[in-house]
């Protein structure tokens, strides 16, 4: 492409003010984007805690949201880089497939729930059930997480620089949990594991990609003891 043509087609960031236009218009605009779009940079003003912002984006654009958001922000994200300059309500980046979601403040319950891929970065704390049933997403929380985090987590990595609430990794499958702080307690079938060189490479990479100031050596690894995978007659009374 000639530089003149490049100049002609270069797009300015699209600014969308949610006090001036309804959220539905934003969703329609984001869903209409084609993968080759020139409108690659979006800025969303005045979210005022609204729900379901920037949900279901399937193109590799960057979206910056200036303020606190409500439920399910960036849900089902598939390829976009979405930054929230504030706190996120329940279910941020739930069911993400790929891309990056970066919460500059705190996240509420069920951050990254059931997500299959991508990277979720939370600069503050996440509350209960962070990474519940995660299926491949990587989550880095620079603060602490609440109770029942990584409940039934199947695959992917949850990195926690702070502490955790009760029952970390309850009924865990094959997700890895790296924690630099202290878990209040481990859930059923979750145990501390030796960190292999392979695990450490994964951790170092995630810390770097999340811009987290932490030493990999300060972390412990938690994973599944795999005693709940198959029915055992001694557990019959527990069902």
């Amino acid at each position: 492409m000639s530089s003149a043509l490049k100049e002609m087609t270069r797009s300015e960031p699209v600014t969308f003010d949610l006090t001036a236009e309804p959220l539905r218009n934003l969703s329609i605009a984001l869903h209409a984007l084609i993968p080759q779009t020139n409108q690659t940079s979006w800025q969303i003003l005045n979210p005022r805690g609204q729900h379901a912002l920037a949900v279901g984006v399937t193109v590799p654009v960057t979206i910056q949201i200036d303020g606190h958001v409500g439920y399910y922000c960036a849900g089902m994200n598939d390829g976009a880089v979405i930054t929230i300059e504030g706190n996120a309500g329940p279910g941020v980046a739930e069911n993400m497939m790929s891309g990056i979601v970066h919460v500059k403040g705190d996240a509420s319950q069920a951050a990254g729930a059931t997500a299959h891929g991508g990277l979720l970065i939370i600069d503050g704390n996440a509350s209960a059930r962070c990474g519940i049933s995660m299926k491949g997403i990587d989550i880095v929380v620079k603060g602490s997480v609440g109770h029942m985090s990584a409940f039934m987590a199947q695959s992917g990595n949850l990195v926690i620089l702070g502490d955790t609430g009760e029952a970390l990794g309850d009924s865990l499958y094959e997700a890895r949990i790296f924690c630099a702080g202290t878990p209040a307690s481990l859930g059923a079938d979750c145990e501390e594991k030796p960190m292999t060189p392979n695990d450490k490479v994964i951790l170092v990479d995630l810390l770097q990609r999340a811009g987290a100031q932490a030493e990999a050596d300060d972390f412990k690894l938690y994973g599944s003891a795999r005693t709940l995978y198959h029915f055992h007659v001694d557990n019959a009374g527990a069902y």
């Binding site: 805690g49 609204q50 606190h68 409500g70 706190n87 209960a128 609440g146 609430g165």
Partner: protein, 293 residues
């Protein structure tokens, strides 16, 4: 679902704005509870007097009742607030029970007034003129009914003691058992509603001389189910979430106020919110603010 909005002012200069701020918060939470709504507001009290908030069927002649009782009355739709000398409390209650069975004493206390009704929150708040009210703290609720019918009696807040009220998001599973226990302790209940039992439990504890924070701690051991409670007393404002923290809660604190919202959306227009300390109350932790008399 259900929605809760609570506002506790630290800065007395904001007191004339309390009703307007609470009404705005309440309306935002309509989509969490469009069935019915209500609020309790703590305004000025008069030494030696107490307020009764009364409710009666539409058309009831409250001014005539006030004239008969020789007390001051403020009319608010199908509710009315009468102010009576403390010494006449028992006499007035007896008279109302005997002569006006259609009049319900919704709440009583030195400062608290309590209004609730069926319908969209904005309409309920307008009917009672919430936006024009002033006070030190207020608790408001939008209801999506689960445990009992959509009626005025089933709307929140519930009050089971002087200047005490409670609103609830969630549902309790052992309320029938606790209600039976409390009835034996001489507490009385107007409905089959689970939240009324929680309010009754706290009132019972307070009646036994326990402080509100200790009463809330006792609730953690006794009440089974899921709940976010916001409670009010004459001078205080408390918040409690169940240990599993099923129901959402966001709090904002500045030098001027402490605010509670089921969602951040309810807090977004409060003054100075961009600089407020925002946090989610921890599960099973008692939060309590009180102002000096």
């Amino acid at each position: 679902m259900c929605g809760i909005a609570g506002l506790f002012l630290k800065n007395r200069a904001l007191e004339p704005e309390l009703g307007a701020m609470t009404a705005a918060m309440l309306e935002v939470l309509t989509d969490r509870g469009p069935d019915s709504a209500g609020f309790a507001i703590y305004g000025e009290g008069t030494a030696g007097f107490m307020k009764f908030t009364l409710r009666a069927p539409v058309g009831f002649d409250f001014p005539a009742l006030a004239h008969e009782l020789q007390v001051a009355v403020t009319l608010r739709d199908d509710h009315a607030v009468i102010q009576i000398p403390v010494a006449r409390e028992a006499e007035v209650r007896r008279h109302l029970t005997a002569s006006y069975p259609m009049v319900a004493v919704v709440a009583s206390g030195t400062r608290m007034e309590l209004f609730k009704g069926v319908g969209l929150p904005a309409l309920v708040s307008k009917r009672f003129g919430l936006a024009g009210m002033s006070g030190s703290h207020a608790i408001a609720h939008t209801r999506m009914a689960t445990e009992s019918a959509v009626t005025t009696q089933g709307a929140h807040p519930f009050s089971t003691g002087p200047d005490q009220c409670l609103v609830h998001n969630g549902s309790l599973s052992n309320h029938n058992d606790i209600r039976r226990t409390l009835i034996r302790e001489n507490m009385s209940f107007e409905t089959q509603n689970d939240t009324e039992v929680a309010a009754g439990f706290l009132s019972w504890k307070l009646r036994e001389g326990v402080k509100l924070d200790a009463a809330l701690t006792a609730a953690l051991d006794t009440l089974d189910g899921f709940y976010t409670f916001v409670v009010g007393t004459e001078s205080g404002f408390g918040v409690l979430r169940d240990p599993v923290a099923c129901k959402p809660a966001v709090m904002a604190e500045t030098d001027d106020y402490v605010a509670f919202g089921s969602e951040y959306r309810a807090l977004v227009d409060l003054p100075g919110i961009s600089k407020a300390k925002l946090f989610e109350p921890e599960p099973a932790k008692v939060y309590f603010w009180e102002r000096a008399a």
